[in-house]
Subunit: 243 residues, 2 copies
DNA sequence: AAGTGGTCTAGACCACTCT
DNA sequence: GAGTGGTCTAGACCACTTG
């Protein structure tokens, strides 16, 4: 035994330890979104290390998207991820300045299905908020979404009127439920519309559709939302760069 | 005028300048794939800067995927990108140890179409090597590819017998034509098969298909290959993480 | 044991933003 | 001008790989 004091920092690289501590302060909500971290000088003093070491620690957090450096101003806790909108998967003939509108078709409390439970890492049958949403551009319906949110975490959302949710959900999660979506995984497959789905999208039954299944995670990498989005396969277009 | 000596290093950050010089040595083929860069100490001396500055320069190249650090051994020029295989887009009932086979259906020299020319940034009508390839897993055809390669860069490939190309093309490009694919952009859309395509894939005409259009780039960010891959839409599955 | 990259220090000076 | 992050220096010592 090297020391009689139990330290729960299992040691390793100094900058990793510091990054972990900083991450803790962020994910615990101790430092809110937009909050400025202490200056590098300050952190170096606090942790009794050189500034360079602090810079390495912060670099890790930047890589993980938790934090953002701004030259001359400071380092800030990042908000909800950007560029996660479903519309990036589809090209509907919309000018960029035409914003899509959301229509909540239904909100129910119901037990999680097998698939939803697996995605959200909760017990099958747990209570969830189940939302159906239609998105349209210039009066034309284009995307149909089934959204499953675990309770009680999203209770506040259920209590608020859907009209108050707004056209984008992630900011609403943040505002009403203090849930910060930090990371998503999208799985794209191809399918055909059921009769009910086709009706909502004003397409024919069995029309080909692109299906995007998304799991959204918060800063602790806990899954917080499971979403299935369907749209016309012929409007689907997705570009990705690798390496 | 600050100096009467014309310098073609337009100046800026020292580590960027150095990174540019190193990049030049790599993309010019001066340092081949697998070649070890000089040690950080050596580079620091050569460029008359501190080691830390060299580390920043090399970090840039690592980010760009040009170079790879190995602790205790050195820094090495990276080869062809990995994980770019088309099969990652599809789930055919194949064990991971069953390797797909390639069949070259045809090789022709023909002028570039409008689309191919745009993708490859060459003049429409330029000479290209046009390859049709079928990939199959366990005797079952699954992917049909149209591949366009600019001439004269790929002349050596045209001269070699297709049987010598192997089951994977990028290593062949490297081996035969000294073309190093460094980066690709894939665009996914959904479509229907033409009669001819359907026949090759042993599916019905108008069967839904996933179409992946790829432009591959070398280390200079010049497009070197345009490829259109088609497969059964129902076998398509693609997962992507964002942020 | 010699050589490599990885971590860390303790500064200096520069570029940018805000007041 | 005061405070922030960005660049750069000139070292020390550690961890890993190879002969």
């Amino acid at each position: 035994m090297k020391s009689h004091i139990e330290t729960n920092e299992p040691a390793g690289k100094r900058y990793e330890q510091i990054a972990n501590q900083l991450r803790g302060a962020i994910v615990s909500g101790n430092w809110m979104v937009g909050h400025a971290l202490p200056s590098e000088q300050q952190l170096a003093q606090d942790h009794q290390v050189a500034v360079g070491t602090i810079r390495q620690a912060v670099a890790l957090l930047v890589e993980q998207g938790l934090v953002e450096r701004v030259h001359g101003r400071g380092t800030f806790v990042r908000g909800v991820i950007s560029g996660a909108g479903m519309l990036r998967f589809f090209r509907f003939g919309s000018q960029p300045d035409v914003l899509p509108r959301s229509f909540i078709l239904s909100v129910k409390i119901q037990p999680a299905s097998e698939k939803a439970a697996a995605a959200l890492q909760i017990a099958p049958g747990s209570q969830t908020l189940y939302v159906m949403r239609l998105r349209q551009i210039q009066e034309r319906p284009c995307l149909l979404e089934d959204i499953v949110l675990p309770l009680p975490r999203f209770q506040a959302l259920g209590h608020a009127a859907p009209s108050q949710w707004g056209d984008f959900l992630y900011p609403a999660y943040e505002r009403l439920c203090a849930v910060h979506v930090q990371h998503v995984t999208d799985t794209i497959t191809f399918n055909r519309l059921t009769g009910a789905q086709a009706k909502r999208l004003e397409l024919a039954k069995d029309h080909p559709c692109a299906k995007v299944e998304r799991i959204a995670y918060d800063r602790l990498h806990s899954p917080v939302e499971w979403r299935v989005t369907r749209g016309d396969a012929h409007a689907f277009r997705y570009t990705n760069s690798i390496l």
